[in-house]
């Protein structure tokens, strides 16, 4: 029978600052990697598939990966959100994706998918941090 485990019964926390930084960097770079590392493999796989798919769908919809320019504050905020996805964002930038097709019907939907994928990964990073601290 499956029972809920309390924080005290779970794996001991990786409370050392260096490990915490590595957990956060891993969580940022590859969605779900930190959860996999911390033993939450089911969660890690779901995050990897869901967030990477969301990012890919956003690109295929003609979404734009915004550049960080303070002259355009909303664009800068969108850029910060986009960067939240780590390696997929770097790969897309390097490979020249994310220029955005402003005439595509799905352009705005694509932007939304890209931005929300990055923001959701930010929540995943915070969750991994809490697990590493032994709070969850």
């Amino acid at each position: 029978m499956a029972t809920k485990s309390t924080a005290a019964e779970r794996a001991p926390a990786a409370a050392e600052p260096g490990t915490l930084v590595l957990v956060c960097v891993a969580a940022w770079a590859v969605p779900g990697a930190a959860h996999w590392w911390l033993g939450r493999r089911q969660k890690g796989i779901v995050f990897l598939i869901a967030l990477t798919a969301m990012f890919a769908i956003g690109l295929s919809f003609g979404g734009q990966l915004f550049a960080f320019e303070l002259r355009e504050p909303l664009g800068a905020l969108a850029a910060v959100a986009d960067i939240g996805l780590g390696v997929p964002w770097i790969l897309a930038k390097v490979m020249g994706y994310g220029a955005g097709h402003v005439t595509a019907v799905t352009h705005e939907a694509g932007n939304t998918f890209l931005i929300v994928a990055g923001l959701l990964n930010s929540l995943v990073i915070l969750d991994a941090f809490d697990i590493a601290m032994g709070r969850k």
Binding site: A2, Q42, K43, V46, F47, A50, F61, T106, V116, L120
Partner: protein, 57 residues
């Protein structure tokens, strides 16, 4: 894909999946929470869409 409803459903599916997995630990609870969130996303968006229908743009 150009159907707004399908895009809405796809978006809702991914977001509710991630939220459910973040907020719940047991697979059964994740499925239940994700299903409720997905339904809430879609029903709320369609309801708001109809409420805004008379408004001129």
């Amino acid at each position: 894909m150009t159907s707004h409803l399908l895009i809405l459903a796809l978006f809702s599916l991914v977001v509710s999946t991630v939220f459910a997995v973040l907020m719940r630990d047991e697979p059964r609870e994740q499925l239940k929470a994700g299903g409720w969130m997905f339904a809430a996303f879609v029903v709320t968006a369609v309801a708001l869409g109809w409420l805004m229908y008379p408004l001129p743009l």
